[in-house]
């Protein structure tokens, strides 16, 4: 039996796939999938328009509570907007902000790490001083100043978070680059007279991707929280756009009377951030057992 | 077979690992005996269950996956497998102890050498501070560490690999154990240091009438340091004999193959012999003899049934249908 099984290539592949997916946090992946689907195709799922105010139905409780209606499953906010629709719409914003920030911060971090780690010398010294500088600035303070300079808009939030986010990647990835730089295949490539750009892109970069992916996944949650903190202070994604952070922020004044306004977006943040963290942990173990400092 | 000068007797020891891919029978019915003052070599390819056997003896199988599921480990007549954890703590390090594979890693980097030896003595023996101190110095001298007073205050990273392994030895010997297990204790050292270490230990062993289990994959070490050899394959001891007897009359095809794969002086490099195939995966063992897929003398019965142990010569046991 065993022999037959191992003889069939597809069966073997199936085992391999099962191996790779071992212990995958199923719930997290499902939550994130829902999050991404809502983020991209949210418009098709919304029972109402996310920014549409219904002045007659202000602060309707969720449907299972007294006074709730099936029209608004999770209730409405202080402007009569459907909370479920806004949460679905908020997925778009969180997804957009989260991924764009991670992409650009990661990209900038990679470039700096490669240049600094591989070229070394004066370039390293200068780049690392700049990285240090960004790392030692108090995050939220600078974020607030930056947001005040730029003004509140989704684009500006992304700029703020990228500006303050790249240094973390650069610092960790530079360490990786330094380690990989000494490995045989890089030395061989050097002997073979590959250009520096080629070595950095073809030989070193693929080896830091794992770390990058892990860092990025773990950061997704942090970006969502940071966006919500700025929104709380009125410097986030401007209303009426349904950002989860601003939704919790809006609802915080109503927490004693209309708990659902801030409760559900808070839960959305909790679930997505928790899922990204769990997935990030899993990836970290699968991809890079040594890496655990973050 | 059971005689009173056996310090350690292992009977049908079984240690299994329960993983998501199935039960891994890492140690599957191992039996052997160790006489006082004897050095037993435990030989086999990596992954054959040598280390797990050793850790089973002192009951430190990685939890929760690994579990000792059967057998007996009689240390001076007491069955260690029936002891509780508290009792085991008192036995480990005092009556049976072990030197680990990697000297670079087996000393705690943040404590001084002195502290690491001291604490072993402190937990096992009721001695005054000065007495312990003296004892530590004595142990260091025993393993030939120069200027022990100075070295005691140093940290592991300040020492060479050989020195560190000798310190591991000093820790192991500090409570005069009956049985010392050396798990690939020399693998990580370079060849000259290896030789030094071996001769030192041989010397200490003879002086103290210590019983030793030397786990290795290197027949050279076996030849130099061991009185008996047990060859392990896929969780079972396939052959067990006096060293000389085994080298001269190997009975099991696996042992023969192992011996053939040793480089010899007169051999040309390109005729170096190797065993074909891969060691079997322990969670999916074939029903018959586990060596059958790689054996050049394989017979029909080998596929069906595992061979029983037979005494092919006095004191020379093997498990092979060929010797039926």
């Amino acid at each position: 039996m065993e022999h037959i099984l191992t003889a069939l290539p597809w069966a073997r592949r199936l085992t391999q796939v099962r191996q790779i997916l071992r212990h995958v946090p199923v719930v997290s992946v499902l939550i994130l999938l829902v999050f991404i689907v809502f983020g991209i195709f949210g418009n098709y799922f919304m029972p109402h328009e996310a920014t549409k105010a219904h002045f007659g139905d202000v602060l309707t409780p969720p449907m299972w509570q007294e006074g709730g209606s099936a029209e608004y499953i999770l209730g409405t906010d202080h402007l009569g907007r459907d909370i479920l629709s806004r949460i679905i719409g908020g997925a778009t914003i969180s997804l957009e902000v989260g991924f764009i920030v991670i992409f650009f911060a990661g990209a900038l971090g990679v470039v700096v790490a490669l240049l600094s780690g591989y070229l070394g010398g004066r370039i390293d010294a200068v780049l690392m001083r700049i990285t240090d500088m960004f790392l030692s600035m108090p995050f939220l303070m600078i974020a607030i100043v930056l947001a005040a300079v730029l003004g509140a808009s989704t684009k500006n939030i992304i700029i703020v978070l990228v500006t303050l986010g790249w240094a973390g990647y650069a610092r960790v990835l530079r360490g990786e680059v330094l380690r990989i730089k000494e490995r045989d295949f890089v030395l061989l490539a050097r002997v073979a007279r590959c250009s520096k750009t080629r070595i950095m892109l073809r030989h070193i970069f693929p080896n830091i991707v794992n770390t990058l992916v892990v860092l990025g996944t773990l950061q997704l949650g942090q970006v969502i929280i940071a966006e919500s903190s700025l929104s709380f202070l009125g410097l986030g994604v401007p209303p009426p756009a349904p950002a989860w952070g601003s939704m919790v922020g809006d609802g915080r004044d109503l927490i004693f009377s209309a708990w659902w306004v801030s409760f559900f977006p808070g839960m959305a943040i909790l679930f997505v951030v928790m899922s990204t963290n769990l997935l990030g942990d899993w990836l970290r173990i699968r991809l890079d057992p040594k890496f655990r400092q973050l | 077979m059971i005689s009173n000068d056996n310090v350690l007797e292992v009977q049908d020891l079984k240690t299994h690992f329960y993983t998501s891919r199935g039960v891994v029978k890492a140690v599957d019915g191992v039996s052997f005996a160790l006489k006082r003052g004897e050095a037993l070599g435990l030989v086999g390819e990596s992954g054959c269950g040598k280390s797990i056997t050793c850790f089973s003896l002192i009951r430190l199988v990685p939890r929760p996956a690994g579990r000792i599921v059967g057998g007996k480990v009689l240390l001076e007549g007491e069955d260690l497998l029936t002891k509780n954890e508290k009792e085991m703590t008192k036995i480990r390090g005092k009556r049976i102890t072990m030197i680990l594979q990697d000297p670079m890693m087996s000393l705690n980097p943040v404590f001084t050498i002195g502290e690491q030896i001291t604490e072993t003595i402190r937990v096992h023996q009721k001695l005054g501070k000065m007495e312990i101190w003296e004892k530590v110095k004595e142990m260091l001298r025993l393993v030939r560490i120069p200027s022990p007073e100075v070295r005691m205050r140093e940290y592991p990273h300040q020492m060479s690999g050989g020195m560190r392994q000798r310190i591991s030895g000093a820790i192991a010997l500090s409570c005069q154990p009956s049985v010392l297990i050396a798990d690939e204790a020399t693998t990580a050292l370079d060849v000259t240091i290896q030789a030094q270490f071996l001769s030192l230990f041989k010397e200490i062993q003879e002086q103290a009438n210590l019983s030793m289990i030397v786990v290795t994959h290197d027949f050279g070490i076996v030849a130099r340091a061991c009185d008996r050899v047990a060859v392990m394959y896929a969780g079972k001891i396939v052959e067990n004999a006096e060293t000389r007897e085994l080298f001269n009359n190997p009975a099991h095809p696996y042992t023969i193959a192992l011996l053939n794969s040793l480089p010899k002086m007169e051999m040309k490099v390109d005729t170096l012999y190797s065993i074909e195939g891969q060691p079997p995966e322990l969670h999916a063992l074939p029903p018959g003899c586990s060596f059958a897929p790689r054996c050049s003398h394989v017979m029909e019965i080998c596929q069906r049934e595992y061979p029983p142990q037979k005494e092919v010569a006095p004191g020379h046991f093997a498990r092979c249908w060929l010797k039926g």
Binding site: F55, H78, G151, G234, P239, P240, D253, F256, S257 | -
Partner: protein
């Protein structure tokens, strides 16, 4: 001898007893009692130190109002009444104002409040380095301050200043001349002294002021013994404090009104008509830039598209629909000026007639402090096709927009928060200065406001007529459009029995008239 000694001793004892008994009796009836805690939000420029002449922001008045006396005061109807000044006179040409001081007023250390203190205070306000809120205005208009005698002071003006009397009533706290000169400005900030109904006990900047009743106050000895003024920014935290009894009265967030109404122990207290919200058409200030709002029909469409009643309901009455630039307490207010009706159909027709049948894109600038209001307004505008993007800059960015002339499209026209004042300065604020960043291209408007300022000297009837004329003109021109009048709401816990406020002046309490329930 012995008997005499004894008699004296008994006599003294009896005297002391009588004194003590009478004292304790009086304490039972007239002495201030109880502790009252008021919690308000803190803006960015709240009180930093207790020197009333260095207050640079708008709503930092609460501590100064209870610690200091002013020459004039306002009663619960919003009318000026005597405080330190028993009487005041404005000369017919408006170039001299005389104040006759009461002889009863004393500072906390017992020195009487005299004309030299008034002169000192006015002149101190004019010192530029103190950055007094209205210092610039005083420097421009005040010529000199003359002490006629201890209780009579004349202020001479370079030109008539219609807003001077407001400054006197709202900002010009009277400080002791000798004490301040002795301890210096920094010393005063450390340990201030006034003559107000409460004496300062302790002070933590931006956090807490504790004051105790001044039993020698000339106008009104407070009913309560201790006042604690606290700053708490989070509205929900304030409400929680009220519910737990940590606060007796809070500045209420309108969204909490229904929550408070559910609680029988909590009363709502309104300060009606505190500030006017108008629609503002910023593009009008840029004659060279093309804009749909140059067409009056479009400006009308904006107003008809907004459902003022719905907005009022949304904020539980914290705003009410309004149709005039004047408040009920202003001379000249005409109640027949009703707000524009909600008529989206007419708005669409007007837009179509103006050439925008499919609407157009624009910006709506709202203030960050009232996101609900402006989000709802923008949603209404979008319904009729005025696709406005909502921009809500925080105060600093707002100020930057002002300097850089960045306002475009339409927005929330900030009516002045000092709506409680005379109509002159209120109406003027809609036309020029800080609150009118759009500027106004109508010379006739400026002219009619100047008329109003002059009419103040001619008596209340003339003033009313002139004010109404300005109101009419502004309504006719559609330079701005009245939208809503904001009502400020406080919530008071079960211990508060009665409270007096001043219409339009939500920051100025009459805490000395506040009564707590006796147990």
């Amino acid at each position: 001898m012995k008997g005499v000694k004894l008699a004296v001793a008994v006599g003294v004892f009896a005297l002391i007893s009588v004194f003590l008994v009478s004292y304790s009796f009086s304490a039972e009836t007239g002495e201030p009692k109880g502790k009252f805690t008021y919690v308000s939000p803190s803006g960015a420029w709240e009180f930093k130190q207790i020197d009333p002449h260095t207050i640079v922001g708008s709503s930092a008045q609460e501590p100064s109002r209870i610690l200091f006396d002013y020459l004039l005061y306002k009663d619960p109807d919003g009318q000026l009444v005597p405080d330190l000044a028993e009487k005041w006179e404005i000369s017919p040409d408006g170039l001299k104002t005389s104040f006759y001081l009461t002889k009863k007023a004393k500072f906390w250390d017992g020195t009487p409040v005299t004309a030299k203190d008034v002169k000192f205070s006015i002149e101190r306000c004019m010192r530029p380095e103190l950055k007094f809120l209205r210092g610039g205005q005083l420097r421009r208009t005040v010529d000199r301050v003359e002490v006629v005698n201890d209780y009579h002071v004349d202020v001479h003006f370079k030109q008539f200043d219609p807003a001077f009397i407001d400054v006197v009533a709202e900002y010009l706290a009277i400080m002791p001349k000798e004490y301040t000169e002795k301890v210096g400005d920094d010393g005063f900030a450390e340990k201030p002294m006034g003559s107000g109904p409460f004496r300062l006990v302790s002070f933590r900047a931006d956090a807490e002021v504790i004051a105790e009743a001044n039993t020698n106050h000339h106008r009104k000895v407070p009913y309560i013994k201790t006042v604690v003024l606290k700053t708490v920014k989070e509205p929900a935290t304030r409400l929680a404090m009220l519910k737990t009894g940590e606060a007796d009265m809070i500045f209420l967030f309108p969204g909490h009104i229904p929550e408070v109404q559910k609680d029988p122990g909590i009363k709502l207290m309104w300060t009606k008509h505190a500030f006017l919200r108008t629609l503002i058409y910023y593009d009008m200030g840029f004659p060279d830039e093309p804009s749909p709002f140059k067409d009056k029909r479009v400006r009308m469409a904006v107003s008809y598209a907004i459902d003022r009643e719905a907005l009022s309901k949304l904020l539980y009455g914290a705003v009410e629909p309004w149709g005039s630039f004047l408040a009920p307490y202003h001379p000249g207010y005409d109640p027949s000026r009703t707000p524009d009706p909600y008529d989206p159909k007419k708005a669409k027709e007007l837009l179509a007639a103006a050439g925008y049948p499919n609407g157009f894109d624009t910006v709506f600038t709202g203030h960050i402090t009232e996101p609900t209001l402006w989000q709802a307004t923008v949603a209404m505008l979008n319904e009729v096709g005025i696709r406005a993007r909502l921009d809500m800059p925080e105060a600093g960015t707002w100020a930057r927009y002002c300097t850089e002339g960045k306002f475009r499209g339409i927005g929330y026209g900030a009516g002045p928060w000092w709506a409680g004042r005379g109509p002159g300065s209120c109406l003027e604020a809609h036309v020029s200065g800080f609150w009118a960043p759009e500027g106004h291209p109508y010379p006739e408007l400026k002219e009619s406001i100047e008329n109003l300022n002059k009419a103040i000297l001619k008596g209340p009837e003339e003033e009313a007529k002139a004010a109404r004329a300005v109101d009419d003109l502004m309504l006719e021109k559609w330079t701005r459009r009245p939208l809503l009048f904001s009502n400020v709401v406080f919530a008071a816990g079960p211990r508060v029995e009665s409270y007096q406020n001043i219409p339009g002046q939500y920051w100025a309490f009459r805490l000395e008239y506040l009564k707590l329930k006796q147990k």
